[in-house]
Amino acid sequence: MATLKELAKVEERFVGGHRLCAGCGHGISVRMVLNAAEDANVVVGCATGCLEVASTIYPYTAWNCSFIHSAFENAGATISGVEAAYKSLKKQGKIDKDFKFVAFGGDGGTYDIGFQSLSGAMERGHNIVYVCLDNEAYMNTGIQRSSATPMGADTTTSPAGKVVPGKQQPRKDLTAIMAAHNIPYAAQTAISNWQDVHRKAKKAFDVEGPAFINILSPCPRGWRYNTPDIVELVKKAVETRFWPMYEVENGKWKLNYKPKKYVPIEEFLKPQGRFRHLFAPGNEHVIKAIQKEVDERWLALLERCGETPELPPK
């Protein structure tokens, strides 16, 4: 694998001038993913959302490669059309250059409204990479719950009130759903480990056929953390096993990181304003439920990955 020094020589495709918030995970994730495309020609597709509105305010653009946004729920379909055009024009000799195709969508545009379009694109087998920048709610419209929002989170449509302590339901497991499409490559990664992101993005670009990567991408406004701590917070998501790093290649599940000791979920919840209410007396049961769900999902994941299903030592 290339060293950081070598990776730094790859021309940036997502450059300065964008208006993402300080301490947002999107810019970091996008730069890491596109870096793995090395010197290829890339077309980026993008769902409506923070990344799109912050990077393409007319007449400016922060994209140093071709970019297309058309709507919210159709990044999968739009990029599949671009890829079909490439195949057709290449076959007919109307263009001679090679291209790679990647679409970015938030969790709203991927787990929810863009789910059908993404599923269709994956089933059709286009040679594309789809990257979900999962910040666990509709942040662009002002922090509304999505199906990626974790249980207990305080959002503007699952507000922590006197009776209801935040979101009632656990997250949709989208990475597993994408793996169930039997695509060549599906993976989950985190920006706290740049080697993991780079390796997975490179593999996603290299495989023939559709690839899906889910990246946990914290939102300072929605999660309410101290912005310089973003990478530390993601590390906590991985160490508490809230966000496991794994990959499914040609149907084979592989766990990429196993925490050495049992870190309770409170470590991840505590630095975030969206979970603050859970630490008030009377809400202990919610934290317990979150922990139970994290543990159960971890054990199920270990089993899928052929590992011994046991929790890390406390």
Partner: protein
């Protein structure tokens, strides 16, 4: 070389698509359009076209994939009907604002609900304000001819807008018709190669498309779409003349039938124009001065051509195969009446909504319309503006 064949409207349109040989087609099946994509997919399977056929999971994705393909630099098409067009509604606006010359047949069918599979124009009228050029076709021949011309209209540098080719579900799509098709080479030369100025797959000149547009630019971009629509009128006429040279068939903005000395006229789109022309021929035999105006282009609205064709008549009935629920009549009524108002000729203009959900327009219905118009001309008075034809009240 011209070739006479007996085929359905759907077969004719699929045949036109084959001869155009688009780079990408993204489509989803829906009655009564289904045959078009079925037939076209057999052309793909048998290697008769170079097209990448994207079998999307919905019409929303059909137009989205067509947008991606067209933006990438491909000649892209889709095809739909009714609910399919309603589902892709959002993307029709976006295709237009991205200035992508996507051509798509719309096999006209009533919109739900209640669910119905037969012909009316409520699907097409739903996108009349979306910035898409709308061509209408009286029969299979016109649907075929419109498809081929649509490519040239859409891709003209003064236009660069999506073009929909409308023809009536079942009436035109499924009925066998005798028409002339051009040979492949003639069509290939007529449509030429698509050469976009900016496109995603231009490795040397990367481009951002679909940017976030605020109050400082959005308005100007909308104004440019209007300018393109305005320019399209001239382009449609020019392309029509060129097409006449290869086909012998005349195409303009409107088809004025026996209107030169007419006192009464019916304005109607698509297949019903054929019925109206038949009635006009019969009434002419009886010495009545009657005619038909069939707009071939509904968007952009051929304002001047409508004025010119109807300026001498005394009374006009606009037949709409769609409701607006405004209680002010159908969509075409409003436009025709506006056009005639400015002439200050005191032309009486009334409206008939007909044929919703596939109800037949009978010849007696058209005769009744001309009877009503004759009474209006005689009395000089039109009391009821919005009427329904062939309806049980």
């Amino acid at each position: 070389m011209k070739n006479k064949v007996a085929i359905t409207g759907n077969e004719a349109v699929a045949q036109a698509m084959k001869q155009i040989n688009p780079d990408v087609v993204a489509a989803y099946p829906i009655t009564p359009q289904t045959e078009v994509v079925q037939i076209f997919s057999s052309f793909v399977s048998n290697g008769q076209v170079d097209t990448e056929f994207v079998t999307v999971e919905s019409e929303h994705s059909a137009m989205s994939a067509a947008i991606g393909a067209s933006a990438a630099g491909a000649r892209a098409m889709t095809a739909t009907s009714s609910q399919g067009l309603a589902l892709m509604f959002e993307m029709v606006y976006i295709a237009s604002s991205l200035r992508l010359p996507i051509v798509f047949p719309v096999v006209n069918r009533a919109l739900s609900g209640p669910i119905n599979i037969h012909c009316d124009h409520s699907d097409a009228m739903g996108v009349k304000d979306a910035g898409v050029i709308q061509l209408f076709s009286e029969n299979a021949q016109e649907a075929y001819d419109n498809m081929i011309q649509a490519v040239r209209i859409a891709e003209h540098p003064d236009v660069l807008l999506p073009v929909s080719v409308n023809f009536d579900g079942f009436i035109t799509s499924h009925a066998l018709d005798v028409l002339e098709v051009l040979d492949d080479e003639t069509v290939k030369n007529f449509v030429g190669q698509y050469q976009p100025e900016e496109y995603l797959l231009d490795a040397q000149n990367p481009v951002s498309m679909g940017n976030f547009d605020m109050y400082d630019f959005y308005f100007e971009h909308k104004r440019q779409q209007v300018a393109a629509m305005e320019a399209a009128k001239k382009v449609i006429e020019e392309v029509g003349k060129e097409y006449e040279a290869i086909s012998g068939r005349k195409y303009g903005l409107v088809d004025a039938y026996r209107l030169d000395d007419a006192e009464m006229a019916v304005v109607v789109l698509n297949s019903a124009a054929g019925s109206a022309k038949g009635v006009v021929d019969e009434l002419r035999e009886k010495g009545l001065k009657v005619g038909v105006l069939k707009p071939r282009v509904f968007r952009p609205f051929p304002f001047e051509a409508v004025q010119d064709a109807l300026k001498k008549v005394k009374a006009v009935a606009v037949l709409d195969r769609a409701e607006t629920f405004s209680t002010l009549g159908g969509p075409m009524f409003a436009d025709v009446r506006t056009a005639l108002y400015d002439l200050k000729n005191d032309i009486k203009v009334i409206n008939y909504v007909y044929g919703l959900g596939g109800r037949d327009l009978r010849l007696e219905d058209v005769e009744k319309v001309f009877d009503d118009l004759a009474n209006i001309v005689k009395s000089g008075r039109a009391d009821k503006f919005v009427n329904y034809l062939g309806l049980r009240e």
